[in-house]
């Protein structure tokens, strides 16, 4: 039976990870995501399911512990907030290169640098376009509620193992800190050693006489072989783009204008829609749930009946590039955002639509 609780987003992702049968969490505290580690330390899953919870000596250590755990076919994760996620980029590039599954949670705060501890969405480029070096992609899930923080822990692990690829939950300080009702799934048992061999035959589980050595590495000094490896990665990303696009449309049926927004911005836009519709403006919301793969085709299709799109982000305008790639640069698209940890108000979002798109 499902269980109903009132929880913070940070607590929900931690509890859902335990229930999804995670084998290990490795992290380092940073506001506004410290509750993930705190919750796990309070819950002591190592006494119940055997899941390891470890506060590493740094973010870099934590991501490399994830690299090690993932190499053995274990369900492992880490979480941090923006400056800490920057520190993990080298590890993420290696994990993507070595084609390993893992879950990374970024509860984004304002940057650049140490920036601020308040909510932001200024890590969109980093999450969706690379972040670390090399031609790689993360699968990026953007929760807009505490419920989705929980749901995406399970979904994240599923996608990570389906594609042998790191998955990022790109959240923000508001979703992490707020409490909402959340329905939790039943506890799933952790995989046994036998199940791991069956599910992940590539994992370094100990060589047996009936197979070759499993080697986990991101290094290949033969350029032609390494090009083949890159082609394989690109083919995988294409498959992800074909099969894993997720999005939500709200009040789009009769809409003349839409907001495109994810995460906290998407919640604020829903209030702007309430305000706008009271004034007779036919307005809807297109909410990308996967930021990579971006729901380009669905947005292009939707845009055909529209007069304009306002991209609403808590940054200087990052996702708008993907919107323009989807609908074309001649389409009436503008950006509205606040930076540095300031959350836009529903009223100013609506005003921006009226001035930049309807009046523009």
């Amino acid at each position: 039976m499902k269980e109903l609780r009132l929880m913070k987003g940070n607590e929900a992702v931690a509890e859902a990870a335990i229930r999804a049968g995670a084998d290990g969490y490795f992290g380092y505290p940073i506001t506004p995501q410290s509750e993930v580690l705190e919750y796990l330390m309070t819950e002591k899953p190592y006494e119940k399911t055997g899941m390891v919870v470890l506060q590493a000596e740094s973010e870099i250590a934590a991501i490399n512990m994830v690299y090690g755990g993932a190499s053995c076919g274990k369900k492992v994760m880490t979480s941090s907030s923006s400056p800490g996620i920057s520190l993990k980029q080298e590890g993420l590039s290696y994990i993507a290169g070595a084609e390993l599954p893992c879950l990374v949670v970024n509860v984004v705060r304002g940057g650049p640098g140490l920036g601020t501890i308040q909510p932001s969405q200024s890590d969109y480029f980093q999450a969706t376009k690379g972040g670390g070096h090399g031609d790689y992609r993360l699968i990026v899930l953007a929760p807009a509620s505490v419920q989705e923080m929980a749901d995406f822990a399970k979904l994240g692990f599923e996608l990570a193992f389906k594609y042998r690829n790191p998955v990022m939950i790109l959240s923000d300080g508001a979703i992490g800190q707020m409490m909402e009702k959340v329905e939790l799934e039943e506890q799933k048992p952790r995989w046994t050693d036998e199940e791991i061999v069956e599910i992940s035959p590539w994992a370094t589980t100990g060589k047996t006489p009936d197979r070759e050595r499993n080697i986990i590495t991101s290094l290949d000094l033969d350029s032609h072989r390494h090009e083949k490896h890159n082609e394989k990665l690109q083919a995988k990303y294409k498959k992800i783009q074909e099969n894993e696009v997720r999005y939500e449309k709200i009040h789009c049926d009769d809409a003349e204008y839409i907001f495109v927004a994810y995460g906290t911005s998407a919640r604020i836009c829903q209030k702007s829609i309430e305000l706008g519709r009271k004034k007779g403006i036919k307005i809807g919301l297109f909410r990308p749930i996967t930021l990579f793969p971006y729901p380009s085709n669905a947005l292009r299709e939707l845009s055909q009946g529209l007069k304009g799109i306002l991209s609403v982000e808590m940054n200087a305008g990052q996702m708008i590039e993907d919107i323009k790639l989807s609908v074309g640069t001649t389409f009436n698209v503008e950006h509205f955002g606040r930076m540095g940890g300031v959350i836009p108000t529903p009223n100013e979002v609506l005003e921006a639509l009226e001035q930049k798109i309807i009046g523009g």
Binding site: A174, Q177, M179, E180, I268, E274
Partner: protein, 184 residues
């Protein structure tokens, strides 16, 4: 029904936990709820606030700039939130420490001497429950039985012996809340 509430005061007054109990109470009667705290510099500087929304439908933004109700427990919060109440909305405040009383005529204003009452009862810890009682007298959006259920859910079991005191505080709050202005 949707009720959008800001509760604001000093850290330590039980602002966040009052919000939490309200959110739990809404959950007990199967409403959608959200609880969005201030975190960071403002909290570290001594003031704390929390936005609580209870709704029969889906909650859009958990972060707001206009409220149906503001529960104000210090002067800084009065300065910040008096103007943020929707016309016809509710302002409930404890006059203790307030030097500039609210001026608006287009909102309903109530005061509650919760600080003084808590001291009289010798129960300073349930100050916030007296305020909550005052609020529920004016706007009975959650049933008392659901508040008690909410308390049971939100308090660790070692504090459950304090629930009768909390209930007493809520009832007392209902008795001592005073009307100051009726919206024109």
């Amino acid at each position: 029904m949707t009720e959008e509430i800001i509760i604001a005061g000093f850290g330590g007054q039980g602002v966040l936990s009052m919000g939490k109990i309200l959110a739990y109470s809404g959950m007990m009667q199967e409403q959608a709820v959200s609880w969005m705290p201030s975190y960071g510099p403002e909290m570290r500087g001594g003031t704390a606030n929390v936005t609580v929304i209870l709704s029969d439908g889906r909650i859009s933004s958990p972060i707001l700039v206009e409220y149906d109700t503001a529960i104000i427990l210090n002067q800084q919060s009065m300065d910040k939130f008096e103007h943020a109440i929707k016309p016809g909305g509710l302002l409930l405040y404890d006059p203790n420490g307030i030097i500039k009383h609210p001026q608006r005529k287009d909102i309903n204003i109530y005061s509650i001497e919760a600080n003084e009452e808590a001291a009289k009862l010798g129960l300073s810890k349930i100050f916030n429950m007296i305020v909550l009682g005052g609020f529920l007298k004016i706007k009975p959006i959650v049933k008392l039985e659901n508040v008690i259920l909410g308390l049971k859910k939100s308090l660790p079991e070692r504090y459950h012996h304090m629930i009768p005191d909390n209930e007493k505080a809520i009832t007392r709050g209902m008795e001592i809340v005073v009307e100051k202005n009726v919206a024109n």
